[in-house]
Symmetry: C2
Subunit: 390 residues, 2 copies
């Protein structure tokens, strides 16, 4: 049901003592036999790049896109930790490599948690042998691994897609693009399809663009965001490469949707579509501006369909907009047409706004550009969760 | 103490019935004798431009930068109102012109309030004669005018600066860049200095860039934002043109500071300075990204000096950043140096964070670029105020 659904992979998750709560905090996905397989990764664009991101990127470059294991910890981001942080990330890989039976460069590493604090390497050193020795196959290993990467998440996030002759499975964590105490969005996907590192990276990039990069909880980009895809090849080359891309995209979108559905303090999940823009890029810029608007997000929390705020955000998104061509819909209910308020049955609209999942569409009436963003509302609970770091 | 401090101007404010509450909602600033004087304006960049913005811009172009009066209403933005909105804005100007004794094109107009609703023109038609007839000199006229433009503001916002041989005075409204029920930031300044429309516009643009455009309550840009400066010339040409620019900038910055200090639901006002950027533009982009971050704003509300969020926002602001050169200070307290957490006395830091006014400085260590943004925290009260439009 997740990273062990595809043949060739085992996984595990344990509590090694990084989190004071005693919750699981150390996670591993590896090949069954410790041999490296094709690997691809997509990272945060944040320039305050965390040590594990630097290390994983360097390892993939050194091996030409091959890895035998991914080790992940929650409870500490190992970000803004300078030289010590890089040394610790390398040490984590070396510890795992020694137990798995591969080289340190064939291990990738991810961390999520507070920025500005160094890892408890004693806890990790003590935990790695148990972590590696206890690796399990589908489904137990995948579930343990998925639980050990969670931070403020309230639910485990796993997904599987099956294509003709192959399987793609994945796990993820993330309750905000950059969560409060515990930062970051992480995802690890595996497949049994045989795909070389180059095309594997292309498939992953395209899938991420339409999933993880098309959601916005709070407009923040973490220092640690990482998505990794390992391909064991046990099922041979996919007969239908396009179907493989679709399956990877499906797993990424499913995991992204689970994240927004678990967003901190949310009461609404909103699928916001901008159509009729001059280009897809302009549609994307407009959708993102609306999705990141504190005012719009507060409206949704209050179940208020006030479209003036959406129009105002589109108008300041740096994209072409002609007010009298704008149409805004909640579900099928047209709340604005030709740039002015449209008559709508207040009771029907109120009933629509009462739902947890909302579909909002803004049509600019200018062209064929189109984009979709998954987002959520801004609530008292979000403020509560983010007032402090402890 | 405001728009009537400079010789040559009178003002008034009344309740004409636009606001259901019965609060003052119609405001006027005009020359004493109804003759047009040099005028300059700076408008919102929002493409959902409101009717009064379109009208004021057209009037200034038609007259070559001369105006005899500014009429302003609160309680309705006259935005997203199509052809009807433009006709109403023109009608407001014509009504005032008829009473003041100038042409309709010599009247400028501003509106602030809900988007998507048309003006109550009957109320305005009935109110204008009383508004014009009751105009008063300093200080009463200015105070009445300043009160009649307020919406969610909790305090009147007025300012005066005196230079060698001239006076600059102003009034403003705005409690969010785009407030909840009642939108918009508006400001009207007057001076007795004799300055032609061209140079007057240059002085105003520069002053706005460093004041109203250097604050961010919620990152939203209203459809109606307008800043107008009228110059009666009764004091003659300023002997020191640079001093005139300084005085206009001083009034704009004072009014902007009053706005942030009255921001919706705020508990903290934060002056955020980014230094050491490669350029002023990069410093500005970085400061704005931090000031608009929900996560950072929640930290401030929680009196948490967690610098990791500030660093993460700077890292994703699209500007050059080298983690190990970053220094972050709260007041004089260094919380991060060389990109890692710096030791700081927790009790001293807690006492600093307990204040209403916070000074936050992020030095990127890369160059001479520098920018400052005035902002505030994100609170439960902000969410409360913005959950609905009624």
């Amino acid at each position: 049901m997740s990273v062990t659904a595809a043949g060739g992979f085992v996984a595990n998750g344990i509590a090694c003592g990084i989190k004071e709560s005693g919750a699981p905090d150390l996670s591993l996905v590896s090949t069954v036999d410790g041999r490296p397989v094709a690997a691809a990764a997509v990272f945060t664009q944040n320039k305050m790049t965390a040590a594990p991101v630097v290390t994983t990127d360097a390892h993939l470059r050194a091996t030409g896109g091959r890895a035998a294991a991914v080790v992940l910890n929650s409870g500490c981001a190992n970000a803004a930790t300078g030289e010590q942080g890089l040394a610790d990330a390398e040490a984590m890989c070396a510890l795992v490599a020694g137990q798995v039976g591969c080289t340190a460069e064939e291990v990738l590493v991810c961390s999520t948690g507070l920025i500005g604090f160094t890892l408890d390497m004693d806890a990790i050193r003590d935990g790695v042998p148990e972590l590696v020795a206890g690796r399990l196959e589908e489904p137990q290993g995948a579930l343990l691994a998925a639980d050990a990467i969670l931070t403020t998440d309230t639910t485990r996030k796993v997904s599987v897609a099956r294509g003709p002759g192959f399987v793609v499975g994945g796990m993820a964590k993330g309750a905000a693009m950059l969560a409060p105490n515990m930062a970051t969005m992480l995802a690890v996907l595996t497949t049994d399809a045989a795909v070389e590192p180059g095309p594997l990276t292309e498939v992953l990039r395209a899938a991420v663009a339409d999933s993880f990069n098309a959601m916005s909880v709070d407009g923040c980009t973490s220092t640690n965001d990482t998505v990794i895809l390992l391909a064991s090849g046990t099922a041979g080359a996919p007969g239908d490469p396009a179907a493989f891309g679709v399956a990877v995209a499906e797993v990424c979108l499913d995991l992204a949707t689970q994240m927004v559905g678990d967003a901190e303090g949310h009461t609404k999940v909103v699928r916001l579509t901008v159509t009729g823009a001059r280009s897809d890029d302009e549609a994307r810029a407009g959708a993102r501006k609306v999705a990141e608007s504190q005012l719009v997000k507060c409206s949704w929390y209050g179940e208020d369909a006030y479209w003036g705020r959406i129009a105002s955000e589109l108008g300041s998104a740096g994209i072409e907009l002609v007010p009298d061509r704008l149409t805004v819909r909640y579900g099928d209910l047209v709340v604005a047409e030709g740039g002015v308020t449209a008559p709508v049955d207040a009771a029907v609209l109120a009933a629509y706004m009462d739902q947890e999942w909302l579909e909002v569409t803004a049509d600019l009436g200018l062209g064929e550009g189109r984009a979709r963003v998954l987002t959520n509302d801004l609530t008292h609970a979000y403020v509560d969760e983010n007032m402090g770091t402890s």
